[in-house]
């Protein structure tokens, strides 16, 4: 069995308004940060998982992302995978 460290990034789709991102952008500007054009907040999920090779682990992570980690009506996801 191989073990992998996976980082999944879940983001609201560009067409979905992100009010928390807007509020944070507004606070960033109040802090004095210049030049912020856009600020959107997502989630990062870290998973340690084992399986027989990268292909099998990717299949598991695809299922998790598609069915649980993200709601694809409103969110997109991507992930990176590192063999431990």
């Amino acid at each position: 069995m191989d073990q992998f460290a996976v980082k999944v990034f879940v983001r609201l789709r560009p067409s979905v308004l992100d009010p928390a991102g807007e509020a944070t952008k507004s606070a960033s500007i109040k802090l004095g940060a210049q030049g912020i054009k856009s600020l959107r907040i997502g989630k990062m999920i870290e998973v340690k998982i084992e399986g027989n090779g990268e292909k099998e682990v990717r299949e598991k992570i695809d299922l998790l992302c598609d069915r649980l980690f993200a709601n694809t009506v409103i969110e997109d996801y991507e992930y990176s995978l590192e063999k431990l």
Binding site: L12, P19, N71, V73
Partner: protein
């Protein structure tokens, strides 16, 4: 209809289950039964209410974890049989997460948790959940949510309109919902999800009775 029983689903974090029971039993004399989310036996209930609250603490997304409970898995068969399912607030979020209703519910546009009475236009008669034939086309119900902004893409919206699936629209959209949508049904009409709380508008003593008809319609065929 003497033995008609409405099942009220209870998740860890549900907090409107007792309100729904009070409204059904106390105001409408309809028998109820609490259904713990780990049960998948729906054989002795004739309709189901998924009440409001914060199932699983709204972890990940509202309704995302509840979707995987044994009870929600058993719901597919129940819905296919034509029996009625009403999802209120968090119940609506669970019904969209689990694919019984299209779209999704996301954080309110202004990020506030809104607790207020809202005026709603009755848009569709589908499923007979609202007193459509009455001259009254507008009702007033309370809302209480932080994540009630309905979102769907334009293709889904077209499908909702073409099939008359939009049940309720806000008169003064409080949360930024797409197309002012406050409640929708499935195509068959036996599943209704809505953000407002009909169970909190069942007695004049607490501000109105506009929710009675919707709860009463749980026992209609």
């Amino acid at each position: 209809m003497d033995n008609f029983t409405v099942g009220i689903v209870v998740f860890p974090g549900s907090n409107c289950d007792r309100d729904v029971s009070w409204a059904l039993e106390g105001c409408l004399d309809i028998r109820t039964k609490y259904l713990w989310h780990e049960s998948s036996d729906l054989s002795d209930v004739d309709a189901i209410v998924i009440p409001g609250g914060f199932s699983y603490g709204d972890y990940l997304r509202c309704g995302a974890i509840a979707r995987f409970s044994p009870l929600i898995n058993a719901l597919d068969e129940f819905v296919k049989s034509g029996k009625r399912v009403l999802g209120i607030c968090n119940g609506f979020q669970i019904l969209t997460e689990s694919g019984f209703l299209p779209g999704a519910l996301v954080a309110n546009k202004n990020l506030n948790f809104i607790c207020d009475d809202v005026e709603l236009d009755i848009v569709s008669s589908k499923g007979g959940w609202f007193n459509y034939l009455d001259e009254k086309q507008t009702i007033k119900l309370p809302i209480a949510h932080g994540e009630g902004r309905y979102h769907c893409d334009s293709d889904t919206f077209k499908k909702l309109v073409d099939n008359e699936l939009i049940a309720l629209r806000y008169k003064n959209n409080p949360n930024g919902s797409a197309f002012d949508i406050a409640g929708i049904t499935n195509e068959k009409g036996n599943v209704l999800g809505l953000m407002p709380h009909p169970e909190r508008a069942c007695d004049e003593m607490i501000g109105g009775t506009d929710g009675l008809f919707t709860l009463k319609s749980l026992i209609s065929k």
